[in-house]
């Protein structure tokens, strides 16, 4: 089934080093367009490191070196002449802790579009309304757009961060444990939102919540000590994984 889907990312023989330490080993994985791909595995296994490699966030880490081939829409994102600004616009990121700027709700969302040169007030207003509607926040905040984003609840802040990410019209959204700081109700809202978003965006999510991976993802990759031990359709991983270690991890017997 997935062979018919277009690949957003193609990763081949990827190694990642922090100085002399090899954090990722020979990763091979395809990430398909408009799929939710979950990355699971014990702490320190390299999931977040891998996630950050997909929009070159690791460039900021001193001593980080990547080998192998990481292609986004067919292009090598680590090629010397590759435009990293465009990459980060196309591949947005949402973090574990909601991290709105200490500015108004409105300013949080228009920040990205402004950097990319959008100045027209009407266009910016449209972006604010569209993205807040996309994340289901419009009804809750439309009458206080110019108040501080820090006054929102944790769940609302996280949805605002997703809206901020959508404002620059990315193709891919990387999510690093986006609900681990949220309560169950806020978590459910984000999970429902992810299901909505996948009709338009490709999503890669790191999660420690096995049931969350099972509930919301189409494909799941199991990481262990820097390697991908198994990647397959989520349904297969959670009903009949091929690797014994995957089985032990998803059933909570180790990790």
């Amino acid at each position: 089934m997935n062979t018919m889907k277009k690949k957003a990312f193609e990763i081949r023989d990827m190694d990642l080093y922090y100085g002399n330490f090899q954090a990722l080993k020979q990763l091979n994985i395809d990430i398909y367009e408009k799929d939710v791909t979950a990355l699971i595995g014990p702490s320190g296994c390299g999931k977040s490191t891998f996630l950050r490699s997909l929009n070159r966030m690791n460039d900021l880490v001193k001593g980080c070196r990547i080998e192998g081939d990481i292609r986004f829409d067919g292009e090598d994102i680590y090629a010397k002449d590759y435009d990293i600004i465009t990459l980060r616009k196309n591949v947005g990121m949402v973090f574990q802790q909601p991290n709105p700027f200490p500015k108004s709700i409105y300013e949080n969302i228009v920040y990205g579009p402004k950097i990319h040169g959008v100045r027209d007030k009407k266009t910016l207003n449209e972006i604010v309304e569209r993205t807040l509607k996309e994340v289901g926040l419009w009804e809750e905040v439309h009458d206080r757009l110019h108040r501080s984003a820090l006054g929102l609840s944790g769940g609302q802040q996280q949805r605002l961060c997703i809206a901020r990410c959508l404002a620059v019209e990315p193709e891919v959204i990387l999510m690093d444990e986006p609900t681990s700081a949220l309560d169950p109700v806020a978590t459910s809202k984000i999970e429902a939102l992810i299901q909505e978003l996948k009709t338009k965006y490709t999503i890669v999510i790191v999660t420690h919540n096995m049931q969350q991976a099972a509930r919301i993802s189409d494909r799941t990759a199991f990481f262990l000590v820097g390697e991908i031990l198994e990647v397959d359709d989520t349904q297969k991983i959670f009903t009949n994984p091929a690797n014994k270690k995957t089985e032990e991890y998803i059933s909570g017997r180790f990790g």
């Binding site: 096995m210 009903t239 009949n240 059933s251």
Partner: protein
């Protein structure tokens, strides 16, 4: 040590319940056959009297699995096992029902002279009971080869059953003991059904092992 001691403890408890139920059914099948062949009405009555125990065992297994799934949220092989155990308990309970029906025929024929009319009944009885034994073992030991052996044996049981049923019904129409022959024909039918449930249990064995539905 496992990080899910409670989960493993509950699984072990379910497994124990399954073994107890299989032990009960193994005995019921052998005793039901014996009750017919040796015209042992007391044995037959015991099978009927203990029928509720089998029902209770099925309910207890279903309830334990339901609780386990709700509280432990099993995945992969634990989930497959849990789903299969519920179906397995259903198949065992149905086997128990057929044993009770056979026992009722045994009581009905306790005074009759059945030796001349038995024909291939002991043969189909030994085949069906061996299939049930092997099917149960295939499930408990997750033995794929044994499961396949049971499927193969089912074809022969079907063939022998058709022959026995026709012979008995023919004798019921023409012979001196019409009622006995008709009873034995229906006993053959119950044995054939027990063999069918044995193949169903083997489908559960394969589901636990392979994670796919098998239909034989």
């Amino acid at each position: 040590m496992t990080k899910r001691p409670k989960m493993d403890e509950e699984l072990a408890a379910i497994n124990k319940q399954v073994r107890e139920m299989t032990d009960h059914i193994r005995k019921d099948i052998l005793n039901a056959v014996d009750a017919v062949v040796h015209q042992d009405a007391a044995m037959a009555q015991k099978i009927i009297d203990q029928g509720d125990e089998v029902d209770d065992m099925e309910k207890a297994i279903n309830s334990a699995c339901f609780h386990f799934m709700a509280t432990q949220a099993p995945v992969a092989s634990d989930l497959r096992y849990c789903i299969s155990v519920r179906k397995m308990a259903r198949h065992l309970e149905r086997m128990g029902d057929h044993c009770e029906d056979i026992a009722r025929y045994a009581i009905r024929m306790k005074e009759a002279d059945i030796t001349q009319e038995l024909r291939d009944i002991p043969y189909i009885a030994s085949m069906a009971s061996r299939m049930a034994e092997n099917a149960i073992d295939s499930f408990l030991n997750q033995d794929q080869e044994l499961a396949k052996k049971v499927w193969k044996a089912d074809e022969e049981v079907d063939e022998v059953y058709r022959k026995v049923f026709e012979e008995e019904m023919q004798m019921a129409a023409q012979g001196d003991n019409p009622e006995i022959c008709a009873n034995l024909a229906f006993i053959a039918e119950h044995l054939e059904r027990i063999a069918d449930y044995a193949t169903n249990i083997c489908e559960e064995t394969m589901f636990v092992l392979e994670g796919e539905e098998f239909d034989i």
